[in-house]
């Protein structure tokens, strides 16, 4: 919707038009404040960590593993150069030779969800399938963050998650305790 609005504003004579293409879903996923009545329905964006340990398809598994260890997690989302989710790395992939390329060993087609999806039914599905993490993406598949089932369960129970992903500009980011 916003590209059309941006185009129309230009046509109306605005000289400096910028489009925040990822929009409110990205803003919420980063844990930034919002104004408004807050929807009574909890949505995926409310429990999404703003960034996730990511790997590139063309790097060696060992390089990705070293980065994963620094974040304290053993799963990573594989994104291509446009930020589109293309795979996932998790146990037991780390048992394979660390010389292999991520693309050769990654799990293909991981489950993704949209940030505006209702949270409760998603968590119920994750519980049934014993899934502990899903990638949160735009409809075009661009990674916005990850939803951990434990975070979502905590939020539904009324507690904020005890860890958040500290995103920062130009550095890898890290998990931190609130």
């Amino acid at each position: 919707m916003s590209p059309r609005a941006a185009c129309r504003l230009e046509a109306l004579g605005f000289q400096q038009v910028y489009d925040y293409t990822l929009g409110i879903a990205d803003w919420k996923a980063a844990g930034l404040p919002v104004e408004g009545d807050h929807s009574p329905t909890q949505v995926v964006a409310d429990a999404t960590r703003s960034d996730a340990p990511v790997a590139a398809p063309d790097e060696q598994l060992g390089v990705a593993w070293a980065r994963a260890q620094r974040t304290g997690r053993d799963d990573m989302i594989v994104v291509d150069c446009d930020g589109v989710v293309v795979g996932r790395l998790r146990d037991p992939v780390w048992q394979q030779s660390h010389d292999l390329l991520v693309a050769a060993v990654m799990e293909l087609g991981p489950t993704t969800v949209r940030p505006n999806a209702p949270l409760v039914p998603l968590v119920e599905r994750m519980q049934k399938r014993a899934t502990d993490l899903v990638s949160v993406t735009t409809p075009q598949g661009v990674l916005l963050g990850v939803l951990l089932r434990a975070d979502a369960e905590q939020l539904i129970a009324g507690d904020p998650p005890d860890q958040i992903w500290e995103d920062c500009d130009g550095c890898p980011g890290h998990w931190s305790t609130q």
């Binding site: 919707m1 916003s2 609005a5 109306l12 293409t21 930034l32 919002v34």
Partner: protein, 62 residues
């Protein structure tokens, strides 16, 4: 020429006094929007609606 930006770009532009326009329908705007954003749903975006806005100031839409 429209420039695509990320949230860091938005924050920087906000500090420079940019106007933020939320072009989502009013119901979605009410349920949560970026602080300071004005609501101007796409279907209402016409000359009259933007009459009060300065054409030379940066404007960010989402």
């Amino acid at each position: 020429m429209v420039t695509n930006i990320d949230r860091y770009g938005l924050m920087a532009l906000t500090e420079m006094g940019a106007v933020i326009l939320d072009v989502l329908p009013e119901r979605e705007y009410s349920s949560g929007h970026i602080p300071g954003a004005l609501n101007l749903p796409l279907r209402k975006l016409n000359t009259a609606a933007v009459a009060d806005l300065e054409r030379s100031k940066p404007v960010v839409v989402y």
